[in-house]
């Protein structure tokens, strides 16, 4: 080997396909800590660590054999002392001899290790990001499924609402059909107004001709409103309709209604519905009104001279106490007059004082006209009120 190559600033080594070292320069011998005679004719595996031995077989040999050159291959050499030296290897092939140049790369090695470390960290970060994304996707999936469920439920709910609303409309229709129509004859002129706060009302009224001279007028307000109140109302209506139309005495009618209410909510403290009611039996021949007012707002009487008086509550509301005794009151009149009965939904909207003024001022007008005036007053006030109760009033002219 010529002197220049022998002492060149790089390691040099020739090896055959069997891995036998044919030549090695002094620089490489110095790096490895061997004498020439110790390595010449030996297998290159002598100066390779185990991973490098395998790498040599997997990559170096196939590459040099088939492509005749190897460029910038990273390997680690093993010194006599057993230390590993990172090197960069370039090799070329001439006939069956592979010439290899080794450059130790300590500093570069550190640098590359750092780069690899950073790369691994970046990959790990990316991996973590991907996993987080996966989680997010899963959560999103669940969320979407829940949302879909909600939409379906909402749809079902809507269907239910629609059905309920249809049912309620039908029920309202039935309730309104049960109300008496206006009546006008030689004794009496009757008109009314009825409006529920929701679809169904807790108010009800009735007018029945008992015989030639006798008429029964009833107005009733079950506590609360909505479906349950309306059902109670309707059950009471079916009772008073039967009783009143056959002329059962006022106190008996009241007693029966009271009994019925108490029976309905027997042993049930949670739901009880009491009701206020006025029942009046008008005898146009005797010019007498027998009545009982059970906790209901006063009925108003206005006579021909403009005299106004009230039929105040004579007893507690129905459905509250067991064993109640009802006592009828009798009122006599001359030359007829006008009766005004109402539920508190009316006086909650328009003050009783105002209603009385309307009644007084329109004394000479027909009941139909007075009805219109009161409705107008109600509509006017309703604009300022949020929750309006069931409203109901009756006007009766007795001749």
């Amino acid at each position: 080997m010529d002197s220049i190559l022998n002492h060149a600033p790089c390691g040099f080594l020739s090896v055959d396909d069997e891995g036998v070292i044919l030549a090695i320069n002094q620089t490489l011998l110095n790096i490895l800590g061997y004498e020439l005679k110790e390595l010449k004719g030996k297998n290159i595996n002598t100066v390779l660590a185990v991973p490098a031995k395998a790498f040599y077989q997997f990559y170096f040999f196939p590459l040099i054999k088939l492509e005749k050159k190897v460029e910038e291959m990273y390997l680690s050499l093993l010194t006599r002392e057993g230390n590993e030296i990172p090197v960069l290897l370039n090799a070329t092939r001439r006939e069956n001899i592979n010439d290899c140049v080794f450059i130790p790369m300590y500093k570069r090695n550190e640098y590359e290790i750092e780069i690899l470390k950073s790369k691994k960290m970046a990959e790990e970060a990316l991996d973590a990001k991907d996993k987080a994304n996966d989680e997010l996707r899963k959560v999103l999936h669940t969320l979407e499924a829940k949302q879909k469920e909600l939409v379906e439920l909402n749809f079902k709910n809507q269907e239910y609402q629609d059905r309920l609303s249809k049912e309620l409309k039908l029920a309202k229709n039935i309730q309104e059909k049960s109300l008496p129509t206006p009546l006008r004859n030689e004794h009496i002129n009757f008109t009314s107004f009825y409006k529920s706060s929701t679809e169904l009302s807790g108010d009800i009224y009735g007018l029945y001709q008992i015989d030639k001279h006798r008429y029964g007028v009833i107005i009733l307000d079950v506590m609360g409103h909505g479906i349950s109140s309306a059902l109670v109302t309707m059950s009471l209506q079916s009772i008073f309709q039967k009783l009143i139309s056959v002329g059962v005495p006022v106190d008996v009618v009241m007693h029966e209604l009271d009994e019925h209410l108490l029976l309905l909510f027997q042993n049930d403290n949670l739901i009880s519905h009491y009701c206020t009611v006025i029942y009046m039996m008008i005898d146009t021949e005797k010019e007498e009104i027998e009545y009982i007012n059970a906790g209901h707002p006063s009925a108003i009487w206005l006579d021909q001279e403009g005299e106004m008086l009230e039929f105040r509550s004579t007893t507690t509301p129905l459905g509250l106490l067991e064993g109640m005794e009802f006592e009828k009151h009798v009122f006599s009149y001359k030359k007829g007059g006008r009766l005004f009965l109402y539920t508190d939904g009316v006086t909650d909207t328009v003050e009783l004082k105002v209603l009385k003024e309307i009644l007084q001022e329109s004394r000479s007008k027909s009941v139909e006209d007075v009805r219109k005036l009161i409705i107008k007053a109600l509509k006017c006030e309703e604009k300022h009120i949020e929750n309006i109760d069931d409203q109901c009033f009756i006007l009766v002219d007795i001749k």
């Binding site: 069997e18 997997f58 590459l63 088939l66 492509e67 780069i115």
Partner: protein, 275 residues
């Protein structure tokens, strides 16, 4: 389907014979490794070369890190090729881990294979003291994988800021301009893990196809003792120690390799799996 597999595994068919001889390379490079040996069989056989998905000029888009997480995925590549080409009485020649891949394929579909030629086989590279010496400690194998990574440093694509997911890596479709040993660093790493940490010792006794073990002298990767172990475990196997040294006799000593293979194929006294 056939065309897909041919494209996917870069299958190359040549030769004038009828009986197929399928060459499978080992870890690291591609079918080019078999060039000089395979050529010699073209006159008498149908010579088939291929690349595993993820290496050589295979369709890298077909790589699935789950399928190729162990050697069974690579064995499936071999089976897919046999099915696609409707091969029968296959002579399978595998080098290094390629020989184990072929052995695994023959366990799944023994009827397809007539003979196996295993060049430098090892069922397990990891030492399992005291009874089994695969040749490597865990640290040494990790050192080898580390060395592979260090050699990818010069690759521009090594620093592609994405990992694992082919769909996120359109650059993978570009053909790597490196040598025939080039492959995607991440795929190479997974192949290395699948190869070097495989333990197929338990599978050897399931192989029923007659086999030839070609054992190199002074093989640092698959030692003489490992070759002997394979011979003991395989039913109906012949063990031949070659003059060739190293781990790649098909490269270093193609003539010797060819003559051993021919001798084995011409030996009609060996009962074949088909018989």
């Amino acid at each position: 389907m056939t065309q897909n597999i041919i494209y996917r595994n870069n299958v190359k068919i040549s030769g004038n014979g009828k009986q197929p001889i399928l060459f499978a390379n080992g870890f690291g490079c591609d079918q080019t490794m078999w060039r000089s040996v395979a050529k010699d069989f073209e006159e008498d056989y149908q010579v088939i070369l291929f690349d595993y998905v993820g290496s050589g000029k295979s369709d890298i888009q077909a790589y699935d890190s789950n399928r190729y997480k162990d050697l069974s995925g690579y064995a499936q590549d071999v089976i897919d090729i046999c099915e696609a080409l409707d091969l029968k009485d296959v002579i399978f020649v595998g080098h290094s881990v390629g020989s184990m891949i072929g052995a695994l394929a023959s366990i799944v579909e023994p009827e397809r294979f007539e003979r196996l030629i295993l060049v430098g086989p090892s069922p397990c590279y990891l030492n399992d003291p005291p009874n089994y010496i695969g040749g490597f400690t865990r640290e040494e194998l990790l050192g080898l994988i580390d060395m592979m990574e260090r050699n990818y440093i010069g690759w521009a694509k090594f620093f592609a800021p994405t990992v694992m997911n082919n769909s996120d890596r359109p650059e993978l479709t570009e053909e790597l301009e490196e040598s025939f040993c080039s492959t995607d660093p991440i795929i190479a790493r997974q192949f290395a893990l699948a190869t070097f940490f495989a333990d197929n010792r338990g599978d050897l006794s399931k192989v029923s196809v007659p086999s030839l073990i070609l054992q190199c002298s002074q093989d640092v990767i698959a030692s003489y003792e490992v070759g002997q172990y394979v011979h003991q475990q395989l039913h109906n196997s012949i063990f031949t120690l070659m003059k060739a040294t190293g781990h790649c006799p098909h490269l270093s000593h193609p003539d010797e390799t060819i003559s051993h293979i021919r001798q084995f194929l011409n030996n009609k006294t060996i009962p074949t799996g088909a018989d």
